[in-house]
């Protein structure tokens, strides 16, 4: 996983509540057995005017000019500003894969759906929860030239006007994100404890350990 320290970028405002993972990456693209290549299909049904299918050359497809990511002033944005309950619905990790592949490293919203929030951290994306009033203000400010700087070590967002906004993040998650750590490797450091747990449980609840599956 890519480590995350600081991102400074323009901000793409996606002004919709309850954006679900079906909208972030529609189901037909989930047939892929790969982890990469989802960026061109991010928000496919909103971004293009035609029906997307896997393997299409997206550079030839008709763009929806009304969709925020198609407005030239937001090209290259690495920060996505969103509304409440972002990432609800399906647990598909293809959603953060698509966001990351497109170039987003930060998503700011008043709230996130739990599974999506969790999946972001596995993919080097920082989901930032801010008070709804602050998010409202950012939506009002977002536009050409409105760049934000998001700094993970100090947990601070700095606006072009020098305003500083503090955000909260779980310390363990922050540590893993900063260092791009492999979760599995960390867990396996507890392998002896896992085996000891299994031994205890095998005694007290043997039906949980069938010999066959």
């Amino acid at each position: 996983m890519k480590p995350f320290r600081r991102v400074t970028s323009r901000v793409a405002p996606l002004d919709r509540a309850n954006v679900d993972t079906d909208a972030i990456i529609p189901k037909q693209f989930l047939k892929s057995i790969r982890r990469s290549g989802f960026g061109p299909y991010l928000f496919d049904e909103w971004r293009y005017l035609d029906r997307g299918e896997p393997g299409m050359d997206c550079s030839q497809r008709p763009l929806n000019p009304d969709f925020v990511l198609n407005q030239p002033c937001y090209y290259g944005a690495r920060i996505l500003l969103a509304r409440e309950n972002f990432g609800c619905g399906s647990s598909r990790e293809h959603a953060p894969w698509a966001l990351e592949d497109y170039g987003f490293r930060v998503i700011i919203a008043p709230s996130f759906a739990d599974i999506f929030y969790n999946n972001c951290f596995k993919n080097g994306i920082l989901p930032v929860v801010l008070d709804a009033k602050i998010v409202d203000k950012l939506f009002a400010q977002a536009g050409p030239g409105f760049d934000l700087s998001v700094d993970l070590p100090t947990q601070t967002i700095t606006t072009p006007y020098g305003e500083k906004i503090h955000f909260e993040i779980d310390p363990a998650r922050k540590y893993r994100l900063l260092h791009g750590l492999d979760d599995i490797g960390l867990t396996l450091e507890h392998a002896d404890e896992i085996r000891a747990y299994e031994e205890r449980r095998r005694e007290s609840a043997p039906w949980l350990f069938p010999e066959y599956a």
């Binding site: 002004d15 309850n18 047939k31 057995i33 896997p54 309950n85 599956a213």
Partner: protein, 515 residues
């Protein structure tokens, strides 16, 4: 000892290691796998030279991509085919049991787990699928995970988690006639919103929940995620234990007795403290129909489409406007005036035998309305399909004009060929009415199986509580299920048909009096 909630007990029983900040390594007893969210996890395992920690904890099946017709010819779509073959290969390589596409035990992963007894009370159960919450109906802590976590569970049999908060949804009282588990959970989502359960594990309790069969409880827990909660729970009782007895993967003999004794403790203690309590009067719930593009956009069948102009919150107002535009609906329209093009009866929410019985009971002796382009019945598993055929349900559906299909996720998410075309409107027993969920430009209305069946016959939504919505000829007594006695012949097939009858939505006492 302090009184604990059911969630507290399940959590405490699975702690392997905890950090001072609350990050906890919890042990996973059962890992269910399907073809869509696992290939990258197996690839990661291979790249790191790792093996599954405890191979017998895993059970796999292909459900999302599989065709529901012409299965003997394989899968036409080469990309889908590769994904299903990749699952077959991964399971073969790592020694994981898989119910392949042509195994009779194959089906939707959340249907087969309980059906096989692979889902047991007191377990932690995960799957790379948000509807894993379904299994919480058994007093198991069950939740959906992403693909990185699928790999993590394969490699370590554990997950790093922080404990969620406790929410209790208590539903007392008697459900009205024609009101089902699906209506209950849609009403709950309408009340607390799609983010109302975010950060919580929801325990569903009260006499109306106790009165539900296991299948009804699964429908409720299945859609806990649609209320934002990763996990839903129902306490263990006799209904739970009766359902599991003699299932292929359930413990047997002495081990069964010991397990049952342990499962009897799987309920919230008297005096246990919940962070949030929601009380709902079951008698007030009416049949529900969603009108928008989020499950919280839901109405009683006798209501009219709301007017965004009356909504004060600007973000909500805009969401409503957008939803009405997408759904091509106007404020003030009666729900019963909404006409549908297609009907889908299936999904991990409503594709179990009782769902099919409830729908068949409405359909019996009738034909699809002439305006219905297509009506699908997609059983949740091969065993559900066989049971339904033994009961003659397939004939009832076929005679009415429904298509009787092979098991899978099908038009719930339209990853296979079953889908809506742009602009088509569907009465669906599935769980999500998101834009494009059932097909590009498709419009979804979530309803119960009986409501979907009634919409198929009438061509529009009807209030199934009213006599005019009921079939004209006298109905047969709801499923005495002589077929329930049918013994399965397949080796590991379910030997235990469902204990409850089609009248599962009535509290147990009522049900008894009917029999």
């Amino acid at each position: 000892m302090a009184a604990k909630t059911l969630y507290d007990k399940l959590w405490d029983d699975h702690v392997v290691h905890s950090e001072p900040d609350g990050s906890t390594l919890i042990y996973i007893d059962r890992h269910l796998i399907h073809e869509v969210t696992s290939p990258q996890a197996f690839e990661g395992l291979r790249l790191a030279g790792r093996k599954p920690w405890r191979v017998t904890a895993n059970l796999a099946t292909a459900d999302h991509n599989v065709p529901t017709v012409g299965r003997e010819h394989g899968i036409d779509d080469p990309i889908s085919r590769l994904q299903v073959e990749t699952l077959d290969q991964n399971c073969a390589d790592f020694g994981i049991t898989e119910f392949g596409m042509n195994d009779e035990r194959q089906g939707i992963v959340h249907v087969i787990g309980p059906e096989q007894g692979a889902t047991l009370p007191g377990m932690t159960i995960v799957c790379g699928d948000s509807h894993t919450s379904t299994h919480g109906a058994f007093g198991a802590l069950a939740f959906g995970i992403g693909t990185s976590e699928v790999e993590h569970v394969l490699a370590t049999q554990c997950l790093v988690q922080k404990k969620a908060k406790n929410m209790l949804v208590r539903m007392e009282g008697q459900l009205g006639l024609g009101v089902t588990a699906k209506d209950i959970i849609l009403a709950v989502i309408g009340k607390i919103g799609t983010a109302g359960g975010t950060g919580y594990t929801i325990e569903f309790a009260g006499s109306a929940i106790r009165g539900l069969s296991m299948e009804g409880r699964m429908t409720i827990c299945n859609m806990a995620i649609e209320a934002g909660a990763r996990a839903g729970l129902v306490a263990v009782d006799d209904v739970t234990i009766d359902y599991l007895k003699d299932r292929p993967y359930a413990p047997k003999g002495d081990s069964w007795e010991k397990a049952v004794a342990a499962w009897r403790h799987l309920h919230s203690d008297d005096g246990a403290v919940f962070d949030k309590v929601v009380e709902i009067d079951a008698a007030e719930i009416k049949p529900q129909v969603t009108w928008g593009t989020s499950p919280e956009m839901v109405l009683s069948v006798d209501a009219t489409i709301p007017d965004p102009a009356a909504e004060k919150d600007p973000v909500k107002r805009e969401s409503m406007r957008r939803a009405l535009k997408y759904m091509d609906l106007k404020p003030g329209t009666a729900v019963t005036d909404i006409h549908v093009d297609k009907v889908f009866i299936g999904s991990c929410t409503n594709a179990r035998i009782e769902d099919l019985r409830a729908a068949a009971e409405v359909v019996r002796g009738h034909k699809l309305a002439s305006t219905i382009k297509q009506a699908l019945v997609v059983p949740g598993s091969g065993l559900v399909k066989r049971q339904a055929e033994q009961e003659g349900l397939d004939q009832i559906f076929r005679e009415a004009g429904f298509e009787w299909r092979e098991p899978g996720c099908s038009m719930c998410l339209a990853m296979n060929a079953d889908r809506l075309e742009p602009g088509e409107r569907c009465a669906s027993t599935s769980n999500r009415n998101f834009e494009g969920r059932q097909g590009y430009g498709g419009r979804t209305h979530l309803v119960s199986p009986a409501m979907a069946a009634a919409a198929a016959i009438h061509g529009h939504f009807v209030d199934i509580r009213q006599k005019s919505a009921a079939p004209a000829e006298p109905r047969k007594a709801p499923t005495k299920t002589a077929t329930s006695k049918t013994q399965s012949t397949a080796g590991a097939a379910s030997k235990k048909p469902d204990p409850a009858s089609a009248s599962r939505n009535q509290p147990a006492r009522k049900r008894k009096s009917e029999q």
